[in-house]
């Protein structure tokens, strides 16, 4: 019986008097594409920040692959196989698309400190980058400076950076925000494809219900810092509490 990928116990984080995340316990199994939804202020982003290391918990534990990572800094969690993408785009604007992917690839291979060999000599990292650029469909634009890319392309690049570290668990914070329907379909297709490869388990924070219901195999609903409901999309759709507080206002 293999241990779960991620085990959260009694996680709690307050800001002043407000408990943004209030006694959350959750278990994530590998291979199950999970969505976290909830109204604004439900604590979704705080939860992701706690899980990825941008925030430290006030109480509770986070176990990743059966190791306590509750207080590890982000880069340490990434090296263990955790990663994330950001809602507000966080790419390297002055570098080329290829360099954006090269960096996490180099980091994964432990080559970032190499100072006396030319960058071009890092064949393995370049091969990794080529593979990922192909997967996200940006190979043709690899030489372009990121700030010159379209919004949709930058979003795909953002995704590419997140998976370039070949994580086992990857959190995507509103991956389709700000996109038109065409771009959204492209990103969803990409996530579906990457997920199907089986290497990475994705957890998506989303507001768009279509995305959530079409993509995920499991939905966790949060409200006011707590887990309101947790189950398959069908079960969530039927759940009365969820419908009242969240889906009820939409038809």
């Amino acid at each position: 019986m293999s241990p779960p990928l991620l085990e959260i116990q009694g996680l709690r984080r307050t800001f002043g008097h407000l408990a943004a995340v209030d006694d959350v316990s959750l278990t994530l199994e590998p291979g199950v594409l999970t969505a976290i939804i909830g109204p604004n202020g439900a604590g979704k982003t705080t939860l992701i920040n706690l899980l990825t290391g941008l925030l430290m918990p006030d109480a509770g534990t986070i176990r990743f692959k059966d190791q306590d990572v509750s207080r590890l800094p982000p880069h340490a969690r990434v090296r263990r196989g955790l990663s994330r993408s950001f809602q507000i785009m966080n790419v390297f604007p002055n570098l080329t698309a290829q360099e954006n992917i090269l960096l996490p690839a180099l980091a994964r291979r432990g080559r970032t400190h190499r100072a006396f060999r030319p960058l071009e000599g890092e064949r393995e990292a370049f091969a990794d980058a080529e593979e990922i650029l192909g997967e996200i469909g940006l190979w043709e634009q690899r030489g372009a400076r990121v700030r010159a890319l379209s919004h949709g392309d930058q979003r795909r690049l953002e995704l590419g950076i997140a998976v370039a570290t070949r994580p086992e668990l990857c959190f995507l914070d509103e991956p389709s925000s700000g996109m038109n329907p065409v771009e959204r379909q492209a990103v969803l297709g990409l996530i579906r494809r990457l997920s199907a490869e089986g290497r990475t388990t994705f957890v998506i924070v989303e507001h768009d219900m279509d995305v959530v219901f079409s993509l995920s195999q499991r939905i966790v609903v949060m409200n006011r810092g707590q887990v309101l409901a947790d189950g398959t999309p069908a079960a969530i759709r039927e759940n009365r509490a969820v419908r009242e507080t969240y889906l009820g206002t939409e038809t």
């Binding site: 990825t52 941008l54 800094p73 982000p74 880069h75 340490a76 990434v78 090296r79 990663s83 994330r84 950001f86 966080n90 790419v91 390297f92 604007p93 002055n94 570098l95 360099e99 090269l102 960096l103 996490p104 180099l106 980091a107 994964r108 080559r111 970032t112 400190h113 190499r114 100072a115 006396f116 060999r117 030319p118 960058l119 890092e122 990292a125 030489g143 950076i161 997140a162 370039a164 570290t165």
Partner: protein, 333 residues
């Protein structure tokens, strides 16, 4: 497809032009003592020293995104360190490399303290530390000679025990020493900047959070950049004492810290050659201004304002833009 080909061709031609220019420059520098007098050699040495100083500064600023106002502190440690070492044992390499190493050590110690802070606090901390070193240089009479500084520093012979011993009293010989050291240091810097480490530093400049989430311990790399900048500053400073036979406190003052900043700004922050071109420009402009008016600081200030307002990429980005525009206008479609 076509534009990509033209762009690559333009880049290649630009590279070749750059390389040709570089060769010409190095040749000119090599031949200088034969054509120019003592003054020309002094100026050339000072430009080379400032180049190294600015190069280190830019690895910290242009490549890593950290603006330090205290680099003169390490410049001074290099200068005073070299002077002290030469007075102890008159061997040129011992003094110069020793001075640089001492500056690197100082950068390591101070870096550990400075590096955990973000941009504005980092800049102010470096200013504070730089000025602390200045007041040390000024007040620690017994060690640094206080206001008068250290004098009588020998232009020691270049010695490698058992292999060679070259007398350095002639200015021309020392000029070639400085030139060789500078060229080696610049070549090394070029290597570093175009290595994985160089890319990592640029990533940190562009987005520290993203770098952390790429699995890189950002603080460690900021420290590396800081130490590298300190080493270059120290090396630059260490080349001073044998040239002028004295070291005085102003080498540690914040106005000295401003020199590499201005040089880099003029030449171009985003490129490797920027600080070097800028060092040359800075000297030329200062020299020219001083001849015309005693109020050259105003002119310099105006230049800074103009650069910051409109030409943040410095001269090199202007040249690059002009070059690209011309090629695109005249070249094949």
């Amino acid at each position: 497809m076509g534009t990509e080909g033209a762009d690559a061709a333009t880049r290649r031609r630009g590279d070749m032009a750059g390389r040709a220019g570089l060769v010409a420059l190095v040749l000119a520098l090599l031949l200088l003592p034969l054509v120019g007098g003592r003054y020309a050699q002094y100026v050339a040495m000072q430009v080379l020293i400032l180049s190294l100083f600015a190069l280190g500064f830019n690895i910290l600023f242009g490549y890593s995104g950290l603006l330090s106002f205290g680099q003169a502190g390490f410049y001074a440690v290099g200068a005073y360190g070299c002077a002290k070492l030469l007075l102890l044992k008159p061997s040129l390499l011992f003094g110069v490399l020793g001075g640089a190493a001492l500056a690197g050590a100082a950068a390591l110690v101070l870096g550990v303290l400075c590096i955990r802070h973000t941009r504005i606090y980092f800049s102010m901390l470096t200013l504070a530390f730089g000025m602390m070193i200045f007041s040390l240089a000024l007040k620690w009479q017994s060690f640094t000679g206080g206001d008068d500084g250290l004098v009588g520093i020998p232009r020691a012979p270049l010695e490698i025990p058992g292999i060679l011993s070259v007398d350095m009293t002639s200015l021309g010989r020392y000029y070639y020493f400085v030139l060789v050291v500078a060229l080696l240091a610049i070549a090394l810097g070029h290597r570093v900047v175009h290595s994985p480490l160089g890319l990592t530093l640029q990533g940190i400049r562009d987005s520290e959070t993203r770098m952390a989430f790429a699995g890189v311990p950002v603080r460690r790399y900021r420290l590396i950049a800081f130490v590298v900048a300190g080493l270059y500053a120290g090396l630059a400073g260490a080349l001073l004492p044998p040239m002028e036979n004295t070291v005085t406190p102003p080498v540690a003052h914040w106005s000295t810290s401003a020199d590499p900043v201005l040089a880099t700004l003029m030449g171009g922050v985003q490129s490797f050659a920027g600080p070097i071109v800028g060092a040359f420009l800075y000297f030329m402009i200062k020299d020219l201004l001083v001849r015309f008016t005693e109020y050259w600081l105003i002119c310099l200030g105006i230049i800074v304002v103009v650069l910051v307002m409109g030409f943040r990429g410095g001269v090199l980005s202007l040249v690059e833009g002009r070059w690209r525009a011309r090629r695109r206008g005249g070249g094949a479609r």
